[in-house]
Symmetry: C2
Subunit: 354 residues, 2 copies
Amino acid sequence: MSAQKNVLVIGAGLIGTSIALDLVATGRNVFLRDIDATAQEVAVTRSGALAFGGQEVDVVIVATPPSIVANVIRLVVSEFPNAVVTDVASVKGSIASALADLPDEAKARIVGGHPMAGREVSGASGAQAHLFMDRPWVLTRLAQTTDEAISAVRTIATDLGAVPIERSVDEHDRAVALVSHTPQVIASLLSGLLVDAAPSDVELAGQGLRDTIRIASSDANLWTDILLGNAQAVGTNLSLLASELQATAEALSAGDHDAVHQVLAQGSRGRARLPGKHGASAQETTVVVVRLEDKPGELARLFTAAAQAEVNLEDVRIDHALGRMTGLVELTVATASRDELVGALEATGFTVFA
Amino acid sequence: MSAQKNVLVIGAGLIGTSIALDLVATGRNVFLRDIDATAQEVAVTRSGALAFGGQEVDVVIVATPPSIVANVIRLVVSEFPNAVVTDVASVKGSIASALADLPDEAKARIVGGHPMAGREVSGASGAQAHLFMDRPWVLTRLAQTTDEAISAVRTIATDLGAVPIERSVDEHDRAVALVSHTPQVIASLLSGLLVDAAPSDVELAGQGLRDTIRIASSDANLWTDILLGNAQAVGTNLSLLASELQATAEALSAGDHDAVHQVLAQGSRGRARLPGKHGASAQETTVVVVRLEDKPGELARLFTAAAQAEVNLEDVRIDHALGRMTGLVELTVATASRDELVGALEATGFTVFA
């Protein structure tokens, strides 16, 4: 801990302020700096960190917009010649390239970092304690990065409840292009079709569309930076999808049953590869559907009944239709606990469809 | 009611069996028929309807796979010369075209129907009471369809708790291409990229990807029929998206900041057009984030506290990361109730981030 006792966070956005908030809670001396004095003040108030005033620090966390991360790191390694310097950007390759001409001594202290958490809001006011709890926090190295530098950032990630995962720069960028950046573009383009749609068409949208385009509300400025910073890996995926989309359009036009079926079956196989929807343990689970009466306190009564049965819920999903919640709640439980849960809920008077 | 006292459901799948289940509960005489005797038996047992044995019926609901709906309707209008005949297929134009040569007398009794509900499971064993509660149930006419026929199906939809909405055949097909069929293809193609991805890449997937491709697990056989039945409207959207995807790939490659930003901003505007995420009333809502300790009964304690404060929750969302639930729950409430909820939760010992 002592090697990361004094930490400076540069950038008073959602991620920087959330990190500061949690780091203060670990008992570290945490300082914040932002070129925007107002943003800095909001973040200081929200996090309990101190405004930076020239103190010596062990670790600097650069949490600025991704497009300027490399330039900030370049300044920081000179300003703090003894500090480990890390960042939180969603892209790593373009930053590493931009730092290629730094001296080895500086590179030895640089650790790429990517805490994979975020919200659909931005700014210090959206900051949140425990934002990184149970989230991956990817660590990457330059060729010269020392184990000690990695270890310092790893300790911070762990203390914030995150799960540090080391990857090469290329592995990181390829992975996030697949699981995060490409889905963002896809969701945004699909959602964009709604802009000029008839209100009577949009009215028929259900939970499927709602889920598919949820991330389309993400911050456009931040995401422009992210996508441009990982342009090659993302562009490759987009070109591939563009040709697959065009091929699917042609298959529909030709009435090619097998080709259309193949698209859907392949998608289903891909979906099944996501880490156990309902638990890293990948235990077998079952969905139990419960109908709630339209009166206050029904959710409380439901979860009280589940708790009294000592059944552990793996997932909870509440259905939406026509823009409002319906009375149906889907509870996911280990298959072994299914009968116990159903029995307990029925005994409490709930209608259960399992 | 008397005009729809005796109802025959043809097709013992998820939708047909769910309709039969609910119709039995309304006190109607409900009959089921399926060419697959085993499927029919499962559906009869599950729904409480009777196996069809030649009784006279007032309404026939064709709930077969979409590709054979038109042929079944053609047979049914002869077999039941006095019955109103409707269906539940997700496409309407291709069925209407296939019935164009029927006599006017038959067309007068045909009502296109599309209850917009479903689950990611299929078959009679997935049938569920109240599946249509609060869901749109679109009704379409042939040129000859009578108001009496529309009224009969409308009454059934209403009695099942659905919201009947009349649209023209073309309006329906265009709307579902936009809000349902195109998103299905997009989600399937995106999800398909995961099939050959490295496990270490897939491991980094978070809630964003999980939501974006949720519907990729849908039934590939059913959806092949649906997409082929609405090939033109879907194909138009897919071609448009293919060219937009390619243009986005080129904008990334060229480092065109404005073009990339435009894609994201447009997506955000589209997302904002969805019917009030948290309530048809479209009242202003706020998200309150609550941290749960990792011990049994915390969800029950949370909802009990909310219920005792008499605050109505508009939405509930539980975060997932690394394949398991985290301790963060997002509660959406009317902004006017926010302070009351936060106060009640904090008084009960919860850590609240609002």
